[in-house]
């Protein structure tokens, strides 16, 4: 597939250099190259394809074959800005062509109307930066639909009474229900709730060059071997390559965006796999490196003209980080579910999407899903109820009995945007290339923890109504580790309180654009990838319009 690609010289000033090839970068690459622009995508990770993917849990989970590597890319963690951060693993993201969309669960909810206008509806919340988006659900709806049809999303329109309006049904029916989904659906209905088939970015019907899901059971953390998971790799990247105008350049670790005397971006400097340094020139730069690496790159690019980092006149680059709150309530049932077969989630409910703060005593909302996201090994580590011996005869008999009879309810919820919660540069810790490492500062807003515990109670009720033999959860704890990396270069109209404008253009640099999880203003209720992809389609339209009007030129 790479034979079709053009090979641009680094000295060629291409129209766009895109940094990152994940959920947003892949789609921007496809859209901008389709619209006639010459595009180079710089991806720090390798170019792997379906033939490279396996179910080898050691390679994937222990050796980080698809993800950022804690030895090469160490991170540090602290709770508040007055602490010194300690070296500790802070995050996981996809580090390969296709980014995190390669290994994600593919749970694929749209945000609802409320997510864009919550500040107006409920008022301000002390100690937080909760604010409205500069765009509404209606602005984004056509792009949600575009995502569903272009990449392939399975689901059932109208099945949830809480669904926001949509202009078109899903392009294909839901995937087959799992035993966990049946248990969940029956019990939820008994309780008067409204379960519905999970929208999943996994094909229930084949598409050209891609198989329908074969129910192998290795979605979360693994790359899909049959192309059924609608990752950027399986969809937009390939479409971008077909244009003949887009070069995907893997193993290219960008560590600096260059600017000229006029304060314009001129290109991106990167290490190749031999650690030689190159500068790819471009008329405009689009950063889609995720909610941690995008702010890090802006901060790493500080220069005389922009001493606090690029696009950082607001001082908000890296701030208002949101991880999404949540956790699981696990239960054991009488008969085998065999939930290791199939994709993760087959039923969801959104009855608690928008809670009344006056009634429950905290801000927030969320969704529940029925799932089994253990692999055999992670089940051996973490799947048994508390109090089970960790070795010996009883350990073995619990493993043997429980593996096929266990399911989880995942409670997904909001995180409030708190300014101190951030990614920044660690003053001491360096990565394997000698660059300042990411430093996480994170302390959940108390409401986020209250919400999680409240949702746990609902999940316990559900398991109870379903007749679970045993159920358990652990009280919500402050998070020190994230995979949803949201809000760190937020959208907004006001340059003082946001980093990018509604065109995804940085307020400070006219030809520098950002689009990924960092763009989100609120956290949604837990499934950000759909919204990241919709924003990317929308950003591509906006950027194309600006370029065609000549507003990116020197």
């Amino acid at each position: 597939m790479m034979v079709d690609q053009p090979k641009y010289k680094t000295s060629d000033e291409v129209d766009f250099v895109i940094i990152g090839s994940g959920a947003a970068g892949g789609i921007l690459a496809k859209e901008l190259s389709t619209n006639g622009f010459r595009v180079v995508v710089l991806e720090q990770g390798p170019y792997l394809t379906e033939a490279d993917f396996t179910h080898n849990e050691i390679e994937i989970l222990a050796q980080d074959k698809l993800t950022n590597h804690p030895k090469l890319q160490p991170t540090s963690v602290r709770k508040t800005p007055d602490e010194k951060a300690k070296p500790q693993r802070a995050l996981v993201y996809g580090r390969c062509v296709g980014g995190t969309s390669v290994h994600f669960t593919a749970n694929f909810w749209r945000f609802h109307e409320i997510d864009f206008i919550e500040r107006s509806k409920i008022g301000s919340i002390a100690g937080t930066g909760l604010t409205d988006w500069p765009i509404t659900y209606a602005d984004l709806e056509p792009y949600y639909t575009k995502v569903e049809w272009e990449i392939g999303v399975s689901g059932l329109a109208g099945a949830s009474p809480f669904d926001p309006p949509r202009s078109k049904p899903y392009p294909m029916p839901p995937l087959p229900v799992k035993s966990s989904g049946v248990i969940f659906e029956r019990a939820a209905k008994k309780l008067g709730w409204n379960p519905f088939p999970a929208p999943m970015a996994i094909l229930s019907q084949p598409r050209p060059g891609r198989s329908a899901c074969v129910n192998c059971g290795f979605c979360l953390s693994f790359g899909c071997e049959v192309g059924a998971k609608s990752s950027s790799l399986a969809t937009a990247i390939r479409a971008a390559e077909k244009t003949g105008r887009c070069e995907i350049r893997p193993n290219s670790y960008v560590h600096r965006i260059e600017t000229d005397a006029n304060g314009r971006a001129t290109g991106a400097t990167y290490f190749d796999d031999k650690r030689n340094i190159h500068l790819q020139k471009a008329k405009a730069v689009v950063v889609c490196a995720n909610g941690a690496e995008t702010p890090r790159l802006l901060l790493l690019s500080a220069n005389k003209q922009f001493p606090n980092g690029l696009a950082n006149s607001s001082g908000l680059v890296g701030k208002y980080l949101m991880f999404n709150s949540g956790g699981t309530v696990t239960a054991l049932y009488e008969h085998p579910l065999n939930d290791y077969k199939g994709y993760c989630v087959s039923r969801v409910l959104h009855d608690f999407y928008e809670l009344d703060a006056q009634k429950v005593g905290f801000y927030g909302g969320g969704g529940l899903d029925a799932r089994f996201d253990f692999t055999p090994i992670t089940f051996g580590f973490n799947g048994l109820p508390p109090g089970t011996p960790s070795w010996g005869k009883d350990f073995k008999s619990a493993l043997a009995h429980n593996f096929s009879r266990t399911m989880e309810i995942f409670c997904h919820g909001t995180s409030l945007p708190v300014e101190n919660n951030s990614f920044s540069l660690d003053p001491d810790l360096k990565d394997a290339w000698g660059l300042p490492a990411l430093r996480l500062t994170y302390k959940d807003h108390p409401d986020d923890l209250k919400l999680t515990n409240w949702l746990f109670e609902r999940a316990h009720e559900l398991h109870e109504a379903a007749g679970a033999q045993k159920k358990w959860s652990f009280p919500a704890r402050e998070q020190q580790f994230g995979v949803h990396l949201l809000g760190t270069c937020r959208l907004g109209n006001d340059p003082k309180t946001s980093v990018i404008n509604p065109d995804h253009r940085t307020h400070d640099i006219k030809n520098l654009f950002l689009c990924d999880g960092s763009s989100l203003v609120t956290s949604g209720r837990g499934q950000p990838t759909m919204t990241i992809m919709a924003l990317a389609f929308r950003a591509a339209d906006r950027i194309t319009a600006l370029a065609k009007r000549g507003e990116l030129g020197a």
């Binding site: 059932l156 088939p197 579910l337 077969k341 070795w391 010996g392 652990f474």
Partner: protein, 218 residues
């Protein structure tokens, strides 16, 4: 034929039912993948020891056999976990070599303390072996362990416990879980392709069609 290979072949054979277009478009990649997996499977789980001496291997084998014992179903011994660990210590688990090098003599010293005159763990009865292991077993409930973020400073027994779980439950194509013994125990079928119904509760369940009808009524 390895499971990985048979799975790939099954994908090819099942092509008409699934997606002929997909199989056609991916033919060369599939061949490459099955060849690669076949080679990997053949080179994995070598018959000879790479890290342990035969004496050390007998000791580790005995420890793993108490972590996941053999009863009416296979245990760590039948799953060849000791060979998985041995190979692992020269590949993905190089960092744990020191833990084993230093930990095994400590374990054997404990054997001598508890059972004077005995030098080897493997020379004890199963009950005596359990007594030795209990003396290493912290009573604090294990925190949620993660294959990702394994803390560096942990004791020998905890390391062997984790490696035994991995070696017992890993996909047999990747150098452990000999003959799929671990998966037989937990009831996971060897295939990597399944069709609904998957379990007891989704048999004969009407599914989303019923949900759609209800949605239409509203």
């Amino acid at each position: 034929m390895t499971n990985e290979l048979s799975r790939r072949n099954f994908l090819l054979q099942a092509g008409t039912g699934l997606s002929t277009a997909w199989v056609a478009a991916n033919w060369p990649a599939l061949l490459a993948a099955s060849t690669h997996a076949h080679r990997a499977a053949q080179s994995a789980a070598p018959p000879k020891l790479e890290f342990f001496t035969p004496e050390q291997a007998a000791e580790i084998d005995a420890i793993t056999a108490r972590i996941i014992p053999t009863d009416d179903t296979p245990g760590a011994h039948e799953a060849g976990v000791v060979y998985f660990i041995d190979h692992g210590l020269t590949t993905f688990g190089v960092d744990d070599q020191k833990t084993y090098r230093e930990g095994l003599p400590e374990m054997q010293a404990r054997v001598g303390e508890l059972f004077p005159g005995v030098a080897k763990f493997s020379a004890l009865t199963p009950e005596q072996q359990d007594e030795v292991l209990h003396s290493f077993d912290e009573h604090a409930p294990p925190s949620r362990r993660s294959i990702r973020a394994r803390p560096g400073a942990q004791n020998f027994f905890e390391t062997v416990q984790q490696h035994t779980i991995v070696g017992f439950l890993i996909d047999p194509d990747f150098g452990g879980n000999h003959d799929g013994a671990g998966w037989k125990v937990i009831g996971r079928e060897r295939e990597h392709m399944f069709q609904a119904p998957f379990g007891y509760y989704d048999k004969n369940y009407p599914g989303w069609e019923a949900a759609m009808k209800e949605a239409d009524k509203k």
